[in-house]
């Protein structure tokens, strides 16, 4: 995938591999989302953090990336890093030991967290801006926040899956966390962000990603 003059490899997990920078980009991990519900009396399964970390470990192994940049909303709540189970905490520590981790702040986790790596509000890298929330009119911006999904309809079949979406100026990554939902890129949340004629949509499949034609997109 070519974006703003750089080569990227979108992974079926939802991570974006940037070989030129030996970097793995992920957005919206929402770690400890399910336990945040438990605190309010809804006992959702406490396994989402473990699943997300396992995905991350696998992606880092596969790509051999030296750096991990999480584009905000890494934790579902500001204090969520204190909710981690012992084993998840160990796993996360091991991860921050092996690779250089940069945690950008998001609306769910605006303050720096007490785990390894560096916490930053925003980052400039190789001429691109990395941040949590997409902005209109920016050039070379990579963000998360909106949890994009595409719904396509072709010859009687339809599929709705998270996706990467960019117009060569703005790129939005799919949400990476095991507990995250998604929003259709045709919905009002995305209005005005993209230049539609140049839109590139890449959907996440089981074992590969699929670049799809925007004319197949439907709502819902």
């Amino acid at each position: 995938m070519r974006f703003a003059g750089h080569n990227f490899e979108p992974l079926p997990s939802g991570a974006l591999h940037w070989p030129g920078q030996q970097t793995l980009l992920v957005a919206d991990l929402h770690l400890e989302k399910m336990s945040s519900f438990a605190r309010r009396g809804q006992m959702l399964p406490p396994y989402d953090t473990g699943m997300t970390l396992a995905r991350l470990e696998a992606d880092l192994r596969r790509t051999g990336a030296k750096r991990l940049i999480s584009l905000g909303d890494s934790f579902h709540r500001a204090d969520a890093s204190s909710l981690l189970t012992h084993s998840d905490r160990m796993r996360l520590d091991a991860l921050t030991d092996i690779v250089d981790c940069i945690w950008l702040s998001g609306n769910h986790d605006p303050a720096p967290h007490a785990i390894g790596g560096t916490c930053l509000p925003e980052l400039e890298l190789a001429g691109l801006t990395l941040t949590h929330e997409p902005r209109r009119g920016a050039a070379g911006l990579i963000s998360g926040h909106l949890h994009p999904a595409a719904h396509i309809h072709i010859e009687g079949r339809s599929t709705r899956r998270p996706c990467f979406v960019h117009d060569n100026r703005l790129m939005i990554l799919p949400a990476y966390g095991a507990s995250t939902g998604s929003i259709n890129i045709m919905s009002p949340a995305f209005i005005g962000l993209f230049n539609w004629p140049g839109l590139e949509v890449t959907m996440l499949g089981r074992d590969r990603t699929y670049p799809v034609s925007p004319k197949r997109l439907v709502r819902g």
Binding site: A38, M43, G50, I152, S158, T159, G181, G205, V212, G220
Partner: protein
């Protein structure tokens, strides 16, 4: 008969005499059971005066005005029924001048009255299972129900086959404990296994006798299949060919009820009848998606006798008696004998006159099903479903409710729960897991002890951790989980042009009703479909509303036939197979149908009673495999999913499949006939029962049907909230998050109590695995393979459905792969 009219208090006998009536035999039999201190199950067809039978003991008990507190609880599946019964009770009570207070309690009852009812109840309270569960979760429950003498359960046959029945059974177990003098009287339509229903009401009161009372059948119904000169369609469900015949029939009767199986069929039929309604007959439409006001309007017009005909779905299966209906029409497959008998019972609510009904098959297969139903009804054969047993989701809800009422000991609650019939064999270990689930989620990874909803006190009692738990419980009570619905609003069309986006649409306009949200997920703007009796065009969506405009089209583009909720009963399926297998019986079939079967016999072979016919043939570039299990669409869909996986492994390269009530067709690129001929593919292995093992497991992992079932279980069990105090969660959000929860849970704890509950439901519900298993056992080493050069006559209907019905298979990935290929072709300038 030990009880005579004279055993009733004079004020009641005088009332009967003044009306010129005499209590019926079964009404007195109920009274006799009451005097013998026994519970009773009264099985009687509709119109037999069941309701009065249920209340005679109460009236005679309360005549002297000395009783204090709540005497009788009446519980029915419909709040409309509770309201109607209240009306039917207050009139005689007033006429007899009895000092009896009757009140209803439903979701519509004002909060102030509901609060008052908890401390100062009427003598007779008419309500629903959900309201009882709610009352039992209050600490005052013991005081309120301590005086209770009688429970009257109405339409029990309809309750016991659903989760509401499970909830009710648990409530009865608690009520039996609170009220030592309790007896239960249950009223039911005729069912296949009355003994099970009797056991069901006897279970909470093990030391008390329970009588089974049955009334004689009344006049047998007069039932016919529509005799038409029109051409019978091969496939489809619209029954368009019959509209003229039906219209003429409606004219000849006073009031006709026309039952169909799905909302879209109701729409089509209603539209079709109005298209030829030259006499402007008052014909109305009634189905679950129409707005409540619209439905109430139709119902009251019906009661007032102002309607000539009503087209309806199962929404009118139960409910208020309408004396003037003199013809019931079933359009489309009757599905089951008991269902058909109950629908026929909606006509002519007088026991001594025969009910009249007409069956209208909408395609050729349905002719066979109608014929089978005709025989079954003539023999009064019952094939109703048995009561369901023991869902862990409902149990979890109940356990939490009991903790809200008062702290409990696990041992005692377990004993009590085993007195609910569906849970009579509940193993202690499973109860403990449910309790653990309610307290902390029941996960192997014990991460949530600090957030526990239930806490164990030092003396071993389980109590709720804080009052918010009870508040949450009360907001999530009940077992009915609605599909996420959107309002359908009619707006002015703005001259839709292809390719244009709508932009914001002005709100306003009339609300036509509600429809399942997933339906709109596949619509494109400008697509037309039928709703509220007219063809409308989809204009867009905003928040929780879908906007539509009146369309000029004469045929809707999107058929939206979603299949009925009820599968063909095993019993009718067996009869259909027998008719096919007995050419001597074909004389009673229309010529078009018997010719079709003869052609099948000549070209291929007929499906036999005890074997499974599998045909394989090439067509176009593809190869087809069609089999005829006659086990209903749901079981066939599951079979199709599993066979496709196996065929993939056998390198037969399957592409998709389509399932009907009767048959299943799979197609692919591999030469199926050749693979079978050369023994590279064994049909016995392909259809072997072990597909319900690993293949099923693999598929359940990602099955959308499992996820939908899980969502229901998770909401009922209280894992996901229906709504929060003050703000309603939208249906959409629940759907999304429950899918994610399922994914996470299935991967990490496939044995979790909620996954168990989901599998249990799916087995008998959307996946119908139970029935599939029975079928695979039946046909083991009885598969008849017929390789053909071309499509067989029997396979034609299914071939015609391809393209009209959703196709299953590797849809998800292949849709993306095709869209990706298309993009590549586009990039290379080929499109």
């Amino acid at each position: 008969m030990g009880v005579l009219l004279t055993d009733l208090p004079p004020v009641i006998t005088d009332w009967f005499a003044a009306k010129g009536w005499a209590p019926r035999e079964h009404q007195l039999a109920v009274l006799e059971s009451w005097h013998a201190k026994a519970s009773a199950l009264l099985i009687a067809p509709t119109g037999a005066g069941k309701t009065l039978a249920g209340f005679l003991p109460t009236l005679s008990d309360l005549v002297d005005g000395e009783f204090e507190g709540l005497h009788t609880l009446y519980i029915s599946p419909l709040k409309a029924l509770a309201v109607d019964v209240a009306r039917n009770l207050t009139t005689p009570i007033a006429e007899m001048g009895l000092p009896i207070k009757v009140e209803t309690r439903t979701g519509d009852t004002p909060a102030s009255r509901r609060a008052r009812q908890r401390v100062k109840p009427p003598h007779i309270l008419l309500t629903t299972p959900e309201q009882i569960a709610l009352l039992l979760s209050h600490p005052q429950a013991e005081l309120l129900f301590g005086s209770l003498r009688r429970i009257v359960l109405d339409e029990l046959h309809a309750l016991v086959t659903s989760k509401r029945g499970e909830l009710l059974s648990l409530a009865l177990a608690r009520l039996a404990k609170l009220a030592p003098d309790l007896r239960i009287t249950a009223l039911s339509a005729t069912v296949a296994r009355p003994d099970l229903l009797r056991d069901w009401i006897a279970q909470p009161l093990p030391d008390k006798p329970t009588h089974l009372l049955t009334t004689s059948g009344g006049a047998p119904p007069v039932l016919e299949i529509l005799d038409t000169s029109q051409r019978l369609p091969w496939a489809g469900h619209s029954a368009n060919y019959a509209h003229h015949d039906l219209y003429e029939t409606i004219k000849l009767h006073k009031t006709t009820l026309l039952f169909v199986n799905t909302r879209s069929q109701a729409e089509m039929l209603f539209q079709g009848l109005w298209a030829i309604n030259d006499d402007m007959l008052p014909i109305a439409l009634h189905h679950g998606s129409l707005s409540v006001e619209q439905r109430r309007k139709v119902e009251s017009a019906m009661v007032e006798g102002r309607l000539k005909a009503v087209v309806c779905t199962s929404t009118l299966d139960l409910g208020i008696d309408w004396g003037d209906v003199d013809l019931v029409v079933q359009v489309g497959a009757p599905k089951g004998s008991s269902r058909m008998l109950q629908r026929i019972g909606r006509a002519n609510h007088r026991l001594d006159e025969p009910s009249k009904a007409l069956l209208v098959p909408s395609n050729r297969f349905e002719v066979l099903e109608c014929e089978a139903a005709l025989e079954a009804v003539a023999e009064s054969h019952q094939d109703s479903e048995d009561p369901i047993t023991g869902g862990y989701d409902v149990l979890a809800q109940h356990v939490l409710g009991m903790a809200c009422a008062e702290p409990f000991l696990a041992d005692e609650l377990f004993e009590e729960i085993r007195r609910a019939w569906p849970y009579r064999d509940l193993p202690r270990a499973q109860f403990d897991r449910v309790l653990d689930f309610v307290a902390t989620g029941g996960y192997a990874l014990r991460a949530y002890e600090r957030y526990a909803r239930l806490k164990k006190t030092e003396d071993g009692h389980w109590r709720i951790a804080n009052p918010q738990v009870a508040q949450q419980y009360r907001l999530n009570i009940g077992t009915i989980v609605e599909e996420p619905m959107v309002r359908v609003r009619l707006v002015r069309g703005r001259g839709f042009k292809k390719g244009q986006t709508t932009g914001p649409i002005g709100a306003g306009g009339r609300v036509l009703g509600e429809m399942e949200e997933y339906f709109f997920g596949t619509l494109l703007i400008g697509d037309t479909f039928m709703f509220g009796g007219e063809i409308v065009a989809f204009e867009g969506m905003k928040d929780n509303e879908a906007f539509v405009s009146r369309a000029q089209a004469s045929d809707p583009k999107i058929p939206s036939y979603m299949g009925g909720r009820f599968p063909l009963s095993t019993y009718l399926a067996e009869r259909v197979r027998r008719i096919m297998d007995s050419p001597e019986e074909w004389t009673k079939l229309p010529d078009q149908v018997s010719d079709w079967l003869r052609l099948q016999r000549d070209i291929s072979v007929l499906p036999r009673r005890d074997s499974l016919l599998v045909e394989t043939f090439p067509r176009g570039a593809q190869n087809y495999m069609v089999c005829y299990p006659f086990e209903g669409r749901l079981a066939h869909q599951t079979l199709g999913m599993l066979l496709t996986r196996r065929l993939e492994r056998a390198r037969a390269r399957p592409l998709g499949f389509i399932a009907s009530e009767y048959a299943l067709a799979i197609w692919g690129l591999g030469d199926l006939s050749g693979l079978i001929r050369t023994d590279r593919l064994s049909l016995d292995d392909l259809f072997s029962e072990d597909m319900l093992g690993d293949d099923l497991e693999d598929w359940l992992d990602e099955s959308a049907l499992m996820k939908r079932t899980f969502r229901n279980c998770a909401i009922i069990a209280g894992l996901i909230e229906r709504r929060h105090p003050g703000k309603e969660k939208t249906g959409r959000q629940i759907t999304m998050s429950s899918d994610l929860i399922y994914d996470v849970l299935y991967q990490h704890e496939p044995d979790h109590i909620l996954i168990q509950a989901t599998r249990h439901d799916a087995a008998r519900g959307l996946l119908d695995i139970e029935r599939l298993g029975d079928m695979l056992r039946r046909i083991r080493s009885h598969i008849v393979h017929k390789p053909l050069e071309r499509v067989s006559p029997l396979a034609v209907p299914l071939m015609l459905d391809i393209g009209k019905e959703p196709i299953f298979g590797e849809g998800r990935e292949s849709a993306m792969a095709d869209a990706a290929d298309e993009l590549i072709r586009e990039a290379m300038g080929q499109i």
